[in-house]
């Protein structure tokens, strides 16, 4: 219970201000990694689709309220991304990390879905120039996210 719910929420509460205060400092032309998303996806990899989806939903509420973005856009995007990440769930979390190709693919796919929906749902009454710009944005953000997520490999395996 504590390991599965309380600690993850506390960690997410720490990551949230870091995401909104520190991470923007490393933005490259509007593109930033999302460490809260990385954490939510890792949670989904570790605890499975149902637990991951519910966790992501609540983290989405926190994210929307803390970032003052449109309430619901983060909830939707986090939930969907975590659900997709849940397909790559392995009983032993280390198995996912050992297979780096699968790990990168799973992160890329889930992050892409997150950034795409978060951007699209955040549009309020605008005429979208081209949907391609959203796709490009989501793709670049996902790649940046993966580069960030790969820092996990710097942590000794026995600590994971």
């Amino acid at each position: 219970m504590i390991n599965k719910i309380v600690f993850p929420i506390l960690i997410a509460l720490v990551l949230l201000p870091i995401q909104l205060v520190v991470i923007p400092l490393i933005s490259i032309s509007n593109i930033i990694p999302n460490i809260v998303l990385i954490y939510v996806l890792l949670y989904s990899f570790r605890y499975g689709q149902i637990a991951g989806t519910i966790f992501a939903f609540f983290i989405g509420i926190l994210y929307d309220t803390a970032s003052s973005s449109l309430l619901g856009s983060g909830m939707f995007s986090f939930t969907l991304a975590a659900f997709i990440a849940g397909y790559f769930y392995k009983e032993d979390f280390k198995d996912i990390l050992l297979n780096i190709h699968i790990f990168i693919f799973a992160l890329l796919l889930s992050s892409f879905i997150f950034f795409l929906f978060y951007s699209v749902l955040g549009t309020e009454g605008i005429i979208v120039e081209s949907n391609f710009s959203f796709i490009t944005f989501a793709l670049f953000s996902s790649v940046y996210n993966i580069i960030f997520a790969l820092s996990l490999y710097l942590i000794p395996r026995n600590k994971l």
Partner: protein
């Protein structure tokens, strides 16, 4: 029957859960303009901002001398821009509007304590609020130009909707050709739509806030015209504007305490509350 339902539920419970959660998210999303939801947002950002500022104070490197120079720079930029505007303005129009020259810009310096960088939801939290005389709808800028508008205010913090927010629409003008339009973020670029194709707008023309705006004072620089696109009918075109300010790399900003026009106030058009 019950067994069949149970089997179906067991087989697809993940999908049912996902469906329910997504529906809840969408319902909340559609209610985002509800006053109650806005109230929640206001309290949430104000409480979060306290924690964000603690973290900000750890990572930031404040320099008071630099801040003062930036304020000076911003004031000079506004004055220069106003002068440029006046040089282009018609004397008759000036006398008609009884437009007064003012150089008394009250700039309130602020630091950005948190940012939400997204392709459509550009938002900042700044460390000034009601107690610093900040009010809703005040423009936020730096020494280069306009950054956004204050949309929510708490006692100590304010929420700023930046130029990269799709919900921010500002009345803008190209002073050289006196073309008026509404500038907004398209998710990719700043665009002024529905400009007559015959209008004399060229690449490199300056775009500033318009006198028609009931929120932002006139002549605050926004950006430069970088492209002009015609629509399918060929009658109207849209202007792509490159903002002067790289909104996402900004650290310190100024809130402009607007000197309101008494005429606009008397018409009850000014959105700023008295």
């Amino acid at each position: 029957m019950k067994i069949i339902f149970r089997k179906i539920f067991n087989l697809s419970k993940e999908y049912i859960l996902l469906f329910i959660l997504l529906i809840i998210s969408l319902i909340i999303l559609t209610q985002s303009s509800n006053p109650e939801i806005k109230k929640i947002r206001r309290y949430a950002f104000a409480s979060f901002a306290v924690w964000a500022e603690v973290l900000y104070s750890i990572v930031s490197t404040e320099n008071s001398e630099l801040n003062e120079l930036q304020i000076e720079n911003a004031k000079l930029m506004l004055e220069v821009n106003m002068m440029r505007e006046f040089a282009l303005e018609n004397e008759e129009l000036k006398s008609l509007l009884k437009f007064e020259i003012t150089s008394d810009y009250n700039l309130i310096p602020a630091a950005i304590v948190a940012k939400n960088i997204s392709s459509t939801q550009g938002l900042f939290i700044i460390n000034v609020g009601i107690k610093d005389s900040i009010r809703k709808s005040m423009p936020v800028m730096n020494e280069q130009g306009l950054i956004g508008i204050v949309t929510e205010v708490s006692n100590d913090y304010s929420l700023v909707q930046t130029l990269t927010s799709s919900s921010l629409k500002i009345s803008a003008t190209v002073p050289k050709s006196n073309i008026q339009g509404v500038i907004s973020w398209s998710g990719d670029v700043l665009v002024i739509r529905n400009i007559p194709t015959t209008a004399d707008v060229n690449k490199g023309d300056r775009v500033v806030t318009s006198i028609l705006s009931t929120i932002v004072p006139p002549s605050i620089p926004i950006g430069l015209v970088v492209e002009r696109r015609s629509n399918i009918s060929g009658l109207l075109s849209e202007i792509v504007v490159q903002p002067f300010v790289d909104v996402n790399s900004v650290k310190n900003v100024f809130v402009l305490s607007v000197v309101k026009s008494s005429q606009i106030d008397s018409l009850d058009l000014n959105l700023l509350s008295k």
